[in-house]
């Protein structure tokens, strides 16, 4: 895959959902801003990547993959409970970055009983995947970046990232696409 840089992306002001519904093929970012002028709810689109097949998923069993760049650990899981931004017939399939937003360590322990990812092996932050990767307990100052996924028949594709991945000054900074 070629290196992607911010110059290749187009910023639009449309709603994330509308773009997802349209099956956007181009990488782009969609921004809204809060009262402080900070970008919020921003989805940055990257080249689509097939990450799983719907029929292969089991509730509580995560599927690991890198996205959007190589080395950016992510995971997809069928939570068994409908959630906002969940896809699939049960609206319960979501994906998140597995890079802790505290200091960048890789989160490995998905606990299906509680639908949380963590504790992080470094400083023990734990994230709630039912609630958009919210920090349950720990030192991270932002939720886990959520990987936006879409369904094409049985195929689940990763399309975009919401939230800044640890280490990056810009989600669109250079990297090797996964």
């Amino acid at each position: 895959m070629p290196n992607m840089t911010r110059r290749e992306f187009v910023y639009l002001g449309a709603a994330t959902g509308a773009v997802l519904a349209a099956g956007a093929a181009l990488p782009l970012a969609i921004l809204t801003r809060d009262a402080e002028g900070n970008a919020v709810g921003a989805a940055v689109f990257f080249p689509e990547k097939r990450v799983a097949s719907l029929g292969d998923l089991e509730i509580g069993v995560p599927v690991m993959f890198d996205y959007p760049f190589e080395g950016q650990a992510s995971m997809l899981v069928k939570l068994g409970e409908q959630v906002p931004n969940g896809i699939g017939p049960d609206g319960d399939v979501v994906a998140f970055s597995r890079i802790c937003t505290h200091m960048g360590c890789e989160l490995t322990g998905y606990q299906a009983e509680h639908q949380v990812l963590g504790p992080c092996p470094c400083h023990f932050s734990t994230f709630d995947l039912i609630h958009g990767g919210q920090v349950v307990l720990g030192q991270a100052t932002q939720s886990l970046p959520q990987i936006m996924i879409s369904l094409d028949g049985e195929t689940i594709n990763a399309n975009a990232v919401v939230g800044l991945v640890y280490g990056y000054a810009d989600t669109l900074d250079e990297g090797v696409n996964a």
């Binding site: 009262a35 970008a39 921003a42 200091m103 360590c105 400083h123 023990f124 039912i130 920090v135 307990l137």
Partner: protein
Amino acid sequence: MTAESTSIPLPPANAKESIICCEYCPVACGYKVYTWDLGTQGGPAAADNALGVDFPTELLSGRWISETMHTTTIVDGELKNVIVVPDGDIEVVNVGGTHSVRGGALAKKLYNPNGLTNDRFLYPMLRVQGNLVPISWEAAIDLVARLSQYTLDNFDELAWGMKIYSYQFYENVYAASKLAFGDIGTPNYSPHHAPAEGDDVPGLSDCGIDAFSAAFEDDKEADVLFISGSDPYETKTVRFTTWQQPGGAKIIYVDPRKTFTAAYAEANGGIHLQLMPGTDTCLYNAISREIITQGWEDAEFIAANAASRTELDGEGSWRRQMFGLSFNEYRDFLFSNDDFTLQGAESETGVPADKIRAAAEMMTGGTGPRPKATILFEKGVYWSHNYENTASIGSMAVLIGSSGQPGRAISRMGGHQRGGQKAAGYPMDKSPHEYKGNKVEMDTERWFAEGKTRFRWIVGTNWIGAMGASRALAAAAERLTSVGPPVTSTDPDLAYAALTERMDNGGTVIVHQEIYENDSTPFADIILAAGAWGEDNYARNNAERRLRLYEKIADPPGEAKSDWEIFAAVGKAMGFAGYDWADTNEIFEEAAPRSSGGRRDYVALVEKAQADGVRGHDLLRTFGTKGLQTPISLEGGEFVETVRQHADFTFKSNSGKANFVLSDWEAVKERNAILGPVDDELWVTNGRVNALWNNLSDFTRRRISQDRWPMNFLEISPNDATARNIVSGDLLSIESDNVLDQLGNKTKGGFTAVAYVSDIVPDGVTYSYFLYPKQPANSVTPGDSNLQPINLRYNFKLGKGRIKKIGTTELTETMSFAPRNLVPG
């Protein structure tokens, strides 16, 4: 969907760099601040940004900038970019640039005229016919000074009160106490967290041990950490993740709740002593008795360092004379009460006897080599039964020789940082309150509720919410500020006439010096808009006595003034001398002699600065975020720091010896009978959670905290919840008809909270955030200091109430109710 950014501006290589430490917990991590012009930014290459690091940064780099580390604020009159990032080069405290969830969002504390912090108080205000309206500083200072003088002239200095933070930097506390103690001479002065001035841990002090004697490296050096009444992971995060957990000590964790640290302890060879609220004294004494029974005490340490009866008789303090014990007397005391047997203690505390015995063995090594054991504690201990708990845990430390040695210490973990450098001594002789014929510091809340305070200056605290029986205290404030004619004009003379008439009619005038509106503001007649952290140059210690400079990084918003400037202006307006400070450095240097001989002693720093012709603050600045560990001295032109106190086995008593101290468990049991839940009530204890801090003045304006904790919560056990038909997300009322108020009367108290059903709390015990705006848990905690007459502290941890579902919320859609005590398997 959560709120996140897609990019963070990088500081250019020429961005201005400043040093500062975290505002919040007593660990006080070191940070760097970079300031630069809007519309410019650096690049991802190391040479192109001020951090000197390539972006993307590597994991654990300690140099990444999260969205919460950036803001825009006003610097030298201009809106600028500011980032507040952990100091990646620091070799102490937060080694390598780690941070807590609180400190990692320090930038969001700063005033942003276009952001969530733009509701700061910008100018002084006067309440006119019920509304706060802006007035000039000249009028505000004039009114405060004249009302103060009227109080002194027509009543006495006991009618003039100040309620103020104890920690908000040396320079501000010095200026405030110079006015209150030095010139006005009132004992009607108390800190943000207690009804009276004085020692928070008198039992430990009577042991002769300084409350902050240990260093963080002792946590790492120790083989065993006995941690009671404070969850280090929740509230002193970096101390846990940098010093305690990496050190590998086995942890004996004492807490009614099975918190993260409790679960971590159990999963790593430690023990959780899950006692019921209010039973600490019995537990500590049972451990000590078992140690003596087995012959596991440190006999050598005791023989060399514990005071004899003769030495105790020579003590100057009434408390040591009354409660000090020799080792033999202490042993006899422990063996005089069957509650201190293993079985007796199990019955009283709920902790299984085998765990008590195992703790005694783990702390001492039993028949094997003696491990290095450090004892750490905080508010769960001294805001339960203050004197008895601090005396019994302190005595346990003396028994096992845990003081003054690497990895062997006893220390408070601290609630906040240490900035309480006073300008003058407390006028104890004027206090109207006493215990068995001995003067004790004045209970300023009782005095207020009695209507004897005619003028009260509230500085930097949500006073109402922070005190026990807060609903009753609010009612008293409402009553006392409603007396007499209302102020109907901003004309200072007319306002003065109305407010003095209120005083004459038995009412109280309240001045509130603050940065934001809070639950105490509705009772204020005059608002004094204050500056805050980062808005002036200040100095402060952390919990291991590390003195650092907190540089000014932004302007106070609007016309707001630094606290010291306000105190100085009032002092001068009242005709007092000695308030002509040009800046905080002048106060810092003036205050140095007052630190002499204490744990904050920085006399040598100022003496060297003056000898070298530099400013004290500037010399301190050269030590960066590492600072200097006080007390310090000067030898051969170099500073000698104090890593830990009592290293020479000299203790803070007349004899220089350490003391055992009596802890009256029978008195505690009588109190528990008064305070404990009855019928369908449950314990309603309270404290902090890691994503929030104190009165939430910053955290209600911080997205991550509000996403996580949009309202106060009540942890309730699955069994107690089921019995009340409660599930997570329900709206609860917590009510009590039996809250002892400031006058000792039974009153009603209550608050609401969202249910968080969790086995983190045992059956019979619930837990809530202690100072959530509009939902104060302290409305069901006692406000009667007569319950603890030795040093007039509240039993903050011993609230109770009936829990009832009153509705549902939609918070399950947005707020996590997942377990908060999951540890790595």
